[in-house]
Subunit: 197 residues, 2 copies
DNA sequence: ATTCATTTTAAACACTTGTTTAAAATGAAT
DNA sequence: ATTCATTTTAAACAAGTGTTTAAAATGAAT
């Protein structure tokens, strides 16, 4: 593993855990076992390093999900798959939601200007599908923006609230994951029952 | 307005807008038009000032909502009122969700140890009501924790995503508020349709 | 073996941070 | 008018920040 990779790896962990402001370049360098100056040698600034990592983190997570949302499959099946895969991904990356929300509220431009954001929040094809299903009489008329936002809220918000949920219910890590996994079906049923004509 | 109040007022605005880390005591003092040292004279540290403001912000917001959740009224009516009042409150305090989530992820203990947190996330009476309605055959069997979390997610998450929603749909401030207001009924219908036996 | 670009190092820089100090101002009670 | 606790002020402190500098080490190409 070369220096650049070491920096990225250490910085990713620290930025995820403590955010941009509370992570110092000295801490990153120390964790990566490299000299501080190398941070500015490979990336020109802490800021640029951060943007690089935002891009990496969101890019990896969003790509496969976007594919599901755009796939040409049955609506119910799509909602089920999307919910399931999204939650699986977040269980593997439990800090991702808070990280993205933190960036979004500190540097909205920073997130919005990224191409990966399109994958993070886009609904064009999905909206068409919802409209088609309505015209076919399969579902009731819904605002696709609102419906997609509902889906996203039900999936993501619990991870932003993780600490509170764990504390309040006295969950262990495993119990939290189980609680979240149970949500897959609940979220699916919630969304589908709303769509019923 | 005395010095203490001036500090609280200025600090509240800045902490809400920029968070704890990116707000300096000098900035607060400057905005309040007072000497820096007065911050440590009235509050012993920036940290304590912050905790004071957390308490104030959450306390004000959570109290009335808790009352609705605990009230002895019809379940449908309760869900409708809770959703409506919660969203009204968040439209008046659009930065509150992000603020609370930021605190929750940086200093979980800080939030959890506060008494006001009980009002922020507690479901005891509401859970009983859900169970009762199930026994009466009025609704299907649901996990109260999950159902309450759904409610909270649908209400709160859009405010955490505000910047992205505005950007993506090219909303003005007023259009965002309208979009959110439309959600009241959508959220109500979503939750109710899921409860149908 | 020498050259030379790439990579690494230690040290310093300029700046901001929260907090403390000790003196000064204020204003009500005697 | 004096006392004295409360409040305000200016200045300094110690520590931490991201970044830059210039010298040193490295290692492949000549």
């Amino acid at each position: 593993m070369n220096t650049q990779e070491k920096i990225i790896e250490s910085a990713t962990v620290l930025f995820l855990e403590k955010g941009f402001d509370r992570t110092s370049v000295r801490e990153i360098a120390s964790k990566a076992n490299i000299n501080i100056s190398l941070m500015n040698y490979y990336f020109r600034s802490k800021e640029i390093l951060f943007e690089t990592i935002i891009d990496l983190l969101i890019g990896k997570a969003a790509a496969s999900l976007k594919d599901i949302l755009d796939a040409e499959i049955d609506l119910n099946e799509k909602i089920s798959q999307y919910t399931g895969k999204y939650i699986d991904m977040l269980i593997r990356n439990p800090l991702l939601v808070s990280f993205v929300l933190a960036v979004l509220n500190r540097n909205p431009e920073k997130l919005i200007k990224l191409k990966v954001t399109d994958n993070l929040y886009t609904t064009k094809k999905f909206s068409q599908q919802l409209n088609n299903e309505y015209l076919k009489g399969n579902i009731k008329k819904v605002d696709p923006e609102q419906f997609y936002l509902n889906m996203l809220s039900l999936i993501s918000f619990p991870f932003a609230m993780k600490h509170l949920i764990i504390e309040k219910n006295q969950f262990s890590q495993e119990e939290f994951d189980r609680f979240i996994t149970e949500r897959k079906e609940i979220i699916y049923n919630t969304l589908i029952s709303y769509l019923k004509p």
